[in-house]
């Protein structure tokens, strides 16, 4: 997708929240949705199953207004975390400008995190995208759970974030770390745009 349209003075960023099922991707979007003024946000599209699991994807368009002369819009997507929805994940991942990998900090979900991260790399590769060139940040969600249930951020970084990209502890349910994560991925995406990787329309 075109990241920057100089003619129309528009910047449109597609950011995909990726991660294992129940890690809190939709919760991130819901929190953001709740904090964005009505006039700035589009309708949040969420296709969920009866058990509140994301069936297809969530989509939240946000109009950030005019920044530095550019009409800036963010489109936030989530993918369904369950392993059997891989086709959907691939579809949603197409044209992404940045990825937020939402990991579940609970120790018992460690393997799910690793599996999902591998799946992300595979899906990007299948689309001809080198994961090293894709802006990615990690969010370690549910850090507010009792300490004996969750892994520490350095441990998670060591296990998942071997490229040393920015990572954030979070409690998406109550919002801690949600906007920090969004800001982190936005900076990476915009930095990539400034480096000339953005394709003018």
């Amino acid at each position: 997708m075109s990241l920057v349209n100089y003619t129309a003075r528009e910047i449109t960023c597609k950011i995909v929240y990726y991660g294992p099922g129940r890690s809190g991707k939709t919760t991130n979007l819901q929190y953001i949705f709740g904090r964005v003024p009505d006039a700035r946000r589009g309708r949040m599209v969420s296709l969920a199953t009866q058990g509140d699991r994301t069936l297809f994807f969530d989509f939240l368009p946000i109009d950030l207004g005019t920044i530095s002369g550019f009409q800036t819009r963010f489109q936030l997507y989530t993918v369904p975390g369950q392993s059997y929805y891989n086709a959907t994940r691939k579809l949603v991942l197409q044209g992404a400008d940045g990825v937020v990998f939402v990991a579940d900090s609970q120790a018992r979900r460690f393997d799910d995190n690793v599996e999902s991260l591998q799946n992300l790399q595979e899906n990007l590769l299948s689309q001809g995208v080198d994961v090293r060139s894709m802006p990615v940040v990690f969010q370690y969600n549910k850090q507010d759970l009792p300490a004996d249930l969750v892994l520490k951020q350095p441990d998670l970084d060591e296990a998942l974030n071997f490229r040393g990209v920015p990572s954030f502890g979070a409690d998406a349910l109550h919002g801690s770390g949600v906007f920090e994560t969004l800001k982190g991925i936005s900076e990476l995406v915009l930095r990539k745009l400034a480096s000339g990787a953005g394709v003018p329309a």
Binding site: S68, G169, S186, L190
Partner: protein
Amino acid sequence: MSPLHPTYRFESLVVGANNRTAATAARAVASAPGSSYNPLFLYSLPGLGKTHILVAVGNLVREVNPTAQVEYLTLDEFVEAFHAAVGAGQADAYRARFTTTDVLLIDDVQFLGQRREMQAELLRLLDHLQQAGKQVVLTSDRSPADIDLLDDRLLKRIAGGLVIDIGPPDYETQVAILRRKAEEKGVTFAEGVFEAIARLGIPSVRELIGALNRLVAFQAVSEVPLDAYKARVLIGGEDEASAIEVPQLEHAEVTVPAATRASEEMIPGVQLGQSDLIGGLAESDFERADDAWMGIEAETTSEYTRYEDHAFEDEFDSSAMLPGAGDESMDSVSGFEPATERHRPSGPADLTPLEEKPPVSAPRDEFGDFLSDLAETLARQVEPWRSRVGEAILRWEGEGFRVTVLERLLQAEEPREPEAALIQYEADAEQLLELRREALDLAPEMADAPQLTDPSNMAAAEAWMQRLRDASRPPSSPSDTWRLEALIEGTGNRMALRAALAAIGEPGTRYNPLVIVGGSGVGKTHLLHGVGNALLAQGASPVACVSAHEFTQELIDAIDRDSVPAWRNRYRRCAALLIDDVHLIAGKDRTQEELFLLFNLFLESNRQLAFASAVPLTELSGVESRLLTRLEGGLVVELPPPDRELRQRMIERILGARGGADADLVNYLAARPAESARAVQGAVQRVLNAADAGDGKVSAALAREVLEGTARRAPAPPAVAPRPVSGVAANGVRSREKMVWNWPGVSDRVIEEWR
């Protein structure tokens, strides 16, 4: 009648996409009241600038024509005046007051719905003013169709004019409004503050200005300048306001009354009558500023109290901490900011001692914060010149300029010297603004011409401007050869001459218009130009003195060149307007329309009008009655053919210039009947020519021979080449002097008639 607020002018109105149509229409109405959109009806939600535009119309009308009667009042005042007049038994005086006004401006007419009797009164007034060519402008907070119980006839009258709505200002307009208002107040803010406020999407200009007042008040008492974040938090809402760091609260007591006292001490500017702090604001603005400040105060006070409550809760939570959560746990989440209100089992943040608790514990405007950070990031990432070009595009697009050049700059991956291109564009745009100002002065209606909107084509703009300057040159002045002193007064023309002198003595007030009627060659043109020269000698300048044919021809040229407003304006600027052979406007509708407008303008501003006509007004057909009645409304004087006394004095003067003549000759010549002064001069000239051809002696016998054809004939005048002569209009003059030698092209005539 309410006084017109002096600062409510078109110049101080920030025009954006939301109000451009309304402002343009209002300006057109103010420039030529009664001639374009009548009535003009503006409506919008409250606080979007209806009253500003309405009052600006009044101010501009008075600026263009200081003697114009402008009535501005709200519907309530209109109703009250009516009731008072009826109560005093002076309903007629009430009606007379409004029927004599030139421009009637009524604000907030939405309240008409409940006042049926006023609807009837307004309907009558509208009809009267429209027929008299007077302007009416109305404003409302809803469209005419949405005003309950509005009389159908009134609705139709309003719909027959122009109805325009004003929308809420867009982002760019809001920034421009904030900048201008801050400039007016002499206050500067850090970069990004206005943009941050504009992003809040405040829908009303009034609220926007209220928000600015809050910023002004806050900055006045703050030791550090407001930045974008603080400004947004300050204005953004109740919750966000708590995030402001208000160091003064350290000295304030927690209880509300004490905090109120503290805040009063903190904003001495407000208590001192706002003289320094918010100079120039309307009283309501002061109240709003005060209310706004009180709002901040209440919020900060309550937040302070909330902080105390939180501290208490936290203290309680720490004592109820789950076993196992200790220092180690706290280390494990280093860098992770705990939630403010904890609903899950208490975490390590609860161990924070009360005195170390950060003072800000309420939810922040996370999205606004995110936006600020993002803007900074983007500003860092995007090449600086691209940002500047982007901002320049927004600015100049807002001014109505074409920005294609700048857009091409942005599209280019590596343009050559983009900074220089931007500087050049902005210099050209500034130059265009200058040209616009000049055009505004010459012809306000043309200041928005597309030729003045493209800085990349300055040559076209200059050429267009030159044409406008040419079209705006003053019209023809009276001929220097025809002076009043050269006219000979006789019994027949005495009244006309005396009337002319009286009109010159009190120009614009005594006899206005002065209409001189008489046959061909009786001296109308001489008298008309003489009046013009006398006015010029008195200091009235410029004085336009043209023939009706010339007037029409100029109008056709102006139509061809699309410069009618400029042409119109050159006449509007004149101190007096004198038109010869005015009967030639018969059948020329557009000429009559333009003359009618000028007529009203000159009449209303007490500037002298004078006309000469070869056809008595009562016999003039093909001229609109509204114009005829106006011509007859001044003084119509007749210049009859010269009587014997006048003929004799003319002959004596002519012959006297050749050394005198005998009484027989003078008597003979004077006794000959003549229809015009020109005929008398012609007869004398023939005799003199015959004398010159013979022995040079001028005598009565020679005159008889020459004029009665009994003897020597004067040599024939030089042969005149035959010229094409077109048909003469029904009311035209059949003398050679009045024949049109250079008939306008057929295409010109067609254009004129079609339009």
